[in-house]
Amino acid sequence: MRIFLAIAWRNVMRNKKRSFITIFAIAFGLIFLIFMWSIIDGVYPVMIDNMTGLFMGHMEVSTPEFVDRPALENAIRDGDPVIAAVRDHPNVEAYSPRMRLFGLLSYAENSQGGVVIGIDPELERELGRLDDDEFIIEGRFITSDDVRGAVIGATLAKNLDARLGERIFFLTQGPHQELAYTNLNVIGILKSHVPEIDGSMVFVRRADLTDADVLDMPGAVTDVAIRLRDQNLLEETKAELQSALEGHDEQKLVRTWKEIVPWIEQALAMDEAFFYFIVLIMFTVVVAGILNTVLMSVMERTREFGIMRALGTKGWQIATVVSLESVMLGVIGLVIGATCGIVLTLILGQTGLDLYSGIDESFMGEFYFFETRIYPLLNLDHFITTCIAVMVMIVLVSLYPARKAAKLEPVVAIKALG
């Protein structure tokens, strides 16, 4: 084997320029792949965290009817068993029972349709980030002591011309088709950059809606939002919760964020498909580079292989020499590419990369879950997978010229020029 290693290595060194170009192609391809994957690893989880961490949660429980028609009649009448099942699940980190009521909000002469969401303030704080200072632009978030205190979306407040300390009126339909209404005191104004929240939502204590003087539905919820300790447990937890909630009066439906906002999942899938398309192009470039180099090398040395065959070298030994050359080029390219890829990713992982500079901030507001500065993240599994895939590809690519060289008829090869 030593002699075949020597022949292979010296052949790699024989045409330094060509070998360098091939090594560069492999290294560049690998750097690109590592970097691309680290961007996806850095951006997607942050994006999902931003989206689910603000208000939505990783999943929610409601009745299936409420999903189709979010009306009070489709609420969960007795929320306590649902809340208990959610609270007791080991994968649940935080949860927030909610009572969503659609109706008319008015202040003075202004009125607008909107949704008032009854929450348990302390539980909501644990689940989401609506109480963050960056979002509460005036006043403060509600606590469990703020009877009829309301935090109102900034756009809605502007439309109603309602300011801090003022009283707004909410009119809705009760459980028996009767009118139900309440007065709410604005104690905070919220600007989350999510148009749906800012333009139509008001947050109050859940009890302020379910109390006898408004709905008289103590313990009722329309949905329970859930945050998991690890979003990778999504499907498993969904199945377990779904099964735990069977047998109650109303049928319950557990939906993950992927089902609540399916377009996000589709957008990510499209993004990922695009990534794999780029990967395919990069692999093609690397394959073409290696194949070109090794095939050229084999063709140039046809006569040499013929002589080796004549001397008693077996076909598989010739194939080994050719494959070793590819592997050597591959390993060098891999080491350089992997090292540079890691360094680049780690540096940019610290400094961040401003991909969206120059994009109008109002446009970015629509995509509140995007970070304007992205931080590539090196995922060891993905890094190893990429390196192995590149190496396997190099070995596979080398098989063709190796086979070609091994199959050379000695007499034909010796006659060849070269």
Binding site: I3, I307, R309, L311, G312, T313, E409, P410
Partner: protein, 226 residues
């Protein structure tokens, strides 16, 4: 008898046109002979050597190596035969370019699985025998044409073959170097009893023949012992 051919014919085809290279060669070569196959270009010398050396297959006829029908052997058996029993010296460019002179000689021994020290010792002895002592670590491009052919001779002898086939070994050498090479082969033939079959149209080589096979248009037209 080391080699025997029976009714050996070889026809090459290109563009649907057939070119007969051998038209029925019957020859027997015995152990220890120093045979020169002479003839003009295109007479079939190289084709005959390729058949004897199991590098090519005949269109018709048979080649026997010590009574074994070469045509009945598998590719692997023919490879083994070349590795252990036959040495080759080609016309030119016949060394592995990336290996030194010593490594070129050692290469065959490595294929045979000989141990390191023994291998180096044998390569050293052979290079010394062909007058290349001190040039062991030079690569082919650092050697003259004559020196390269000497390395090729040393390599052809490395496996201690019973038969050495040399195809126009002096074609790219000047007269003096060519003569030295042929005299070296004669010496090895005399001292080690190795059978040599050399193809050439070089008069100097023909003059050194112990047995001369004259080939013309793919047929042996004379079998002489000068």
């Amino acid at each position: 008898m080391i080699v025997k051919t029976e009714g050996l014919k070889k026809v090459f085809s290109s563009d649907h046109v057939e070119h007969p290279a051998l038209r029925g060669v019957d020859v027997q070569i015995n152990e220890g002979e120093f045979v020169v196959v002479a003839g003009p270009s295109g007479s079939g010398k190289t084709t005959l050597l390729n058949m004897i050396g199991t590098l090519d297959s005949p269109t018709e006829g048979k080649v026997f190596f010590k009574d074994r029908d070469v045509g009945a052997m598998s590719v692997g058996e023919r490879t083994e035969l070349r590795l252990h029993k036959i040495g080759f010296v080609f016309q030119a460019y016949n060394l592995i370019n990336v290996l030194t002179a010593a490594e070129n000689v050692e290469y065959v021994l490595l294929l045979q699985g000989l141990a390191g020290e023994q291998r180096r010792q044998r390569a050293h002895e052979l290079l010394e025998a062909v007058g290349l002592e001190g040039l062991e670590n030079r690569r082919p491009e650092q050697l003259s044409g004559g020196e390269q052919q000497r390395v090729a001779v040393a390599r052809s002898l490395a496996s201690e073959p019973e038969l050495v086939l040399a195809d126009e070994p002096t074609a790219n050498l000047d007269q003096a170097t060519g003569k030295e090479l042929i005299e070296l082969m004669l010496e090895l033939n005399r001292e080690r009893g190795i059978t040599f079959v050399i193809s050439s149209h070089d008069r100097m080589v023909i003059e050194h023949a112990r047995r001369l096979l004259r080939l013309l248009d793919g047929r042996i037209v004379a079998d002489e012992k000068p």
